[in-house]
């Protein structure tokens, strides 16, 4: 058993409040391994993994980068729920904590998953803006206008893969594009700057991989660390597809653009 302070952080003992002794069970590549640690105030599961790797089991592998919920590198299943390790405080979790790698994505080692399992789906919706011909300046889009509001709701995805791991349908139908890819597809379909809406809609409308597979369980909504609702994006895509079947396709007008004063020479 060890106190959860690596010597790299031992200078912060001024705030050392021992709160709880925790048993952390980690699903490693070669089987489950348990570690007993004491947690301090304000520590997270990521802190615990660092402590274990630094002091108890140097061969443990996990992935992280920013440690403030911006990069989406430390997704894992903590006490059964998809979470970012860096934003999951230990104290509310209780005395027994289980940590497993994300589901539906191949494991490289221990808690490190091969995010190609996520991006291979994401890539299929052509996740990049293809600017409409003539789009030479930033568009004028008031914050309260529909142009902006629709996109704002789903913009902050950090491609962490939690939603893919939590999605029951992906478990049953591995080809299903999954929540994050469809959320990105909807953002681009709703974006008046984009020229590939038709291509994307035909992709997301395919029966085996597309939006019709979604059963509206909303597991993705529950786990998203950025409070995005992929289910909402999926519903919008379904409605758009239905409307097109009934009324046909009407091209969108070109949006108004902002004149940038200082052009690069």
């Amino acid at each position: 058993m060890g106190v959860l302070v690596s010597p790299a952080f031992s200078d912060f003992v001024g705030y050392e409040v021992r709160v709880l002794t925790v048993t952390i069970r980690i699903a490693r590549s070669n089987g489950e391994q348990a570690f007993v640690v004491e947690t301090l105030a304000q520590q997270t599961v990521l802190d615990a993994l660092f402590y274990i790797q630094n002091e108890l089991e140097p061969s443990l592998s996990f992935r992280c980068s920013c440690r403030v919920g911006m990069c989406g590198s430390c997704g894992m299943v903590i006490n059964g729920k998809e979470s970012l390790a860096c934003r999951t405080s230990l104290n509310p979790l209780g005395a027994e904590v289980t940590v497993q790698p994300l589901r539906h994505i191949p494991v490289i080692k221990d808690l490190v998953v091969d995010m190609e399992g996520f991006f291979s789906k994401y890539r299929l919706v052509d996740p990049y803006l293809k600017p409409r011909p003539g789009l030479v300046n930033p568009i004028v889009a008031p914050p309260s206008g529909h142009l902006r509001e629709e996109i704002d709701l789903g913009l902050e995805c950090i491609s962490c893969g939690l939603c893919l791991s939590a999605c029951d349908v992906v478990g049953m139908v591995p080809e299903f594009l999954g929540p994050a890819a469809l959320n990105r597809a909807y953002n681009l379909v709703a974006d008046v700057r984009d020229d590939l809406a038709e291509q994307r809609l035909s992709m997301v409308g395919q029966s085996r991989v597309g939006v019709w597979q979604c059963h509206t369980h909303m597991s993705c909504v529950e786990v998203c660390p950025k409070n995005i609702a992929p289910t909402r994006a999926i519903s919008h895509l379904k409605r758009t597809l239905i409307r097109r079947r009934i009324t046909g396709h009407r091209p969108r007008p070109m949006p108004k653009v902002q004149r940038i004063v200082q052009e690069e020479v």
Partner: protein
């Protein structure tokens, strides 16, 4: 050993690396590009962590000349003026490209045009942003565009050595972290865009994998380095006890919007340090003021000072700074309704590889962009000029490589050399009984914070130099065991090696600059000395010197703007001279 040949090797996948990849490809689609990144593409690195935003002149009432003057003034006039000019002049086109080609969508004003908010040290509100977590939007969209192009990417591969002959770089030796094996990559052009990230300090902001690898790689390969003493400490790093969130930045927009800083006695202390600008003084001034308060004992329970934005109104704070409110809530406080304890935190390295405005280093075939490069920001970087540098220089240098790479030779490195160097970087497997790199990192972080941090003295710097030599020796003897696949302790050892080498450069440069300027503060030379020190400190590896490096000074060239102090004193420039130590 596996080897491979490409036209262009890009090291790093932050704003500079990804933007460069796009521009190399779009300039010359026939070039074979390989992008190598230590973490996951677009997820590791510091552009991703940009919160506040991006300085750019878009408003007709603003001007590029003003942005330029603010940048020089903030940098205390030791910026390379041509590099700073390329920055401010390239900013509007970069925002334009991000919005109309890359697919970013920045926040808007009520009239629908791009919103620009207030940051410190600027004469105009010119910071473009997406909420208070701007880096996510920039990096996700750049990554999307890279996915749309035939650009090969190796994730979780780290460069351990630039391979060359002291005057030319022919490629890099790369460690595949997942497999624990090496890969030799020959390249006509190599772009160093790994980012800086001064994590050798006890309290530090950058993402956790950052270890200034690029600076160590370039130095060891013989590149000329500059301004290495210039490390930026951000004034408001969140304190979260022993949690690793400690040191992460609470963004500058909080001060821009009117946030106030207090010490533990409830005193708004900036009134004593910079009564005119108060909390909106530049980062160097505000960070040092906070440090002085902390060292004088006017500190809170975690040893910090306090930022308070509650007077702006809870609703405003929650709407304007949702990311900051969430982060503070994660560690148990409410930013919208009360003070939050913060500390200066090591944030950015102004120093780096000396380059020209197209990213050429002193070594043929080696290009540098972003925080790995030095000179743009002088002695202090303005908030909002960091992501501007990584993206603007990513584009510029990408264009230059696109134009030049096909003409550069592909030089074959003998197999024996690849093997020999691989063995060197795997030497930790041959030793036993060495110290734990995590413990040595703790020693380094305390050492640099206390002896070579916000306040520096010659006696401390001497002690620091000796302690770093001892640490480097301990790093040599670290032993790593177990399976080579995804071995974090091996990564820790390599990270630490980079950090100690860069710490030595910081310490040597800091002891040469016997004055105080920007982020470099010498208690034994507390004044800014414009008569003698409108100069830059350069370093270059050289085994013939005791320190393993030669150090030389050069006068700043005032190619576009004469500093006010020079105008007043009508000083003559001193001739270039060499310091032999």
């Amino acid at each position: 050993m596996r080897t491979e040949s490409v036209d262009v090797l890009i090291l790093g996948s932050g704003g500079a690396g990804l933007f460069a990849a796009l521009h190399v490809h779009d300039t010359n689609p026939r070039l074979k590009i390989l992008l190598v990144t230590k973490g996951l593409m677009g997820k590791s690195g510091c552009t991703r962590m940009v919160q506040g935003g991006f300085n750019v002149v878009l408003d007709p009432a603003d001007s590029i000349e003003r942005h330029f003057s603010d940048t020089l003034k903030g940098g205390r006039y030791v910026n390379d003026q041509e590099l700073a000019w390329a920055l401010v002049q390239g900013a509007p086109g970069t925002i334009h490209e991000l919005e109309t080609r890359v697919g970013c969508f920045f926040d808007r004003r009520p009239d629908g045009t791009i919103h620009q908010k207030a940051f410190a040290g600027q004469s105009f509100d010119r910071t473009v942003h997406r909420g208070d977590l701007t880096g996510i939007e920039i990096m996700e969209r750049l990554r999307d565009q890279v996915l749309a192009r035939p650009i090969a990417v190796l994730e979780e591969h780290r460069a351990v050595e630039l391979v060359g002959d002291g005057s030319r770089i022919s490629g890099a030796l790369v460690l595949d972290i997942r497999r624990g094996t090496f890969l030799g990559i020959h390249a006509r052009a190599t772009l160093l865009a790994t980012g800086g990230g001064p994590t050798m300090y006890k309290i530090a902001a950058p993402s956790l994998e950052k270890s200034e690898d690029g600076l160590a790689l370039a130095f060891r390969a013989g590149a000329i380095m500059r301004d290495m003493e210039m490390v930026q400490y951000h004034p408001t790093g969140l304190l979260a006890g022993a949690g690793r969130v400690t040191g992460s930045v609470l963004e500058e927009g909080l001060r821009g919007a009117g946030g106030r800083l207090f010490n533990a006695q409830g005193e708004r202390y900036m009134a004593r340090y910079d009564p005119d600008r108060m909390e909106r003084a530049t980062r160097d001034v505000v960070a040092r003021a906070g440090y002085m308060e902390i060292m004088a004992g006017r500190r809170g329970p975690q040893g910090g000072v306090f930022i308070d934005v509650s007077h702006l109104g809870a609703a405003f704070v929650r709407k304007t700074f949702p990311g900051m409110v969430q982060r503070v809530k994660d560690v148990g406080y409410d930013l919208a309704t009360g003070p939050v304890e913060v500390s200066p935190t090591a944030h950015f390295h102004m120093g780096g590889v000396a380059i020209d405005s197209d990213g050429h280093s002193s070594l043929l075939g080696l290009f540098v962009a972003g925080e790995d490069a030095g000179g743009v920001h002088g002695a202090n970087r303005l908030g909002g000029n960091g992501v501007a540098e990584s993206t603007i220089y990513g584009r510029r240098v990408g264009d230059a490589i696109g134009r030049e790479a096909a003409e550069l030779p592909l030089v074959s490195v003998p197999d024996a050399q690849w093997e020999l160097r691989s063995q060197h970087h795997a030497r930790f497997w041959q030793t036993t009984g060495g110290e734990n790199p995590a413990h040595l990192l703790g020693e380094l972080r305390s050492l640099m914070w206390e002896k070579c941090g916000l306040v520096r003295r010659q006696t401390d710097l001497n002690a620091c130099r000796d302690a770093l030599a001892v640490l480097l020796d301990k790093v040599e003897h670290i032993s790593v065991t177990g399976n080579r696949e995804y071995n974090l302790r091996w990564s820790d050892a390599l990270n630490l090696e980079s950090l100690v080498i860069v710490s030595q450069m910081i310490t040597e440069s800091a002891s040469v600059r016997t004055e105080s300027r920007g982020s470099h503060y010498r208690e034994d030379f507390p004044q800014e000395n414009n008569a003698e020190w409108l100069k830059n400190v350069y370093l270059q590896a050289d085994d013939h010197h005791d320190l393993g490096m030669k150090i030389f000074l050069k006068d700043v060239q005032f190619t576009r703007e004469i500093p006010p102090a020079v105008k007043e004193a009508k000083l003559d420039g001193n001739p270039q001279h060499m310091v032999q130590r």
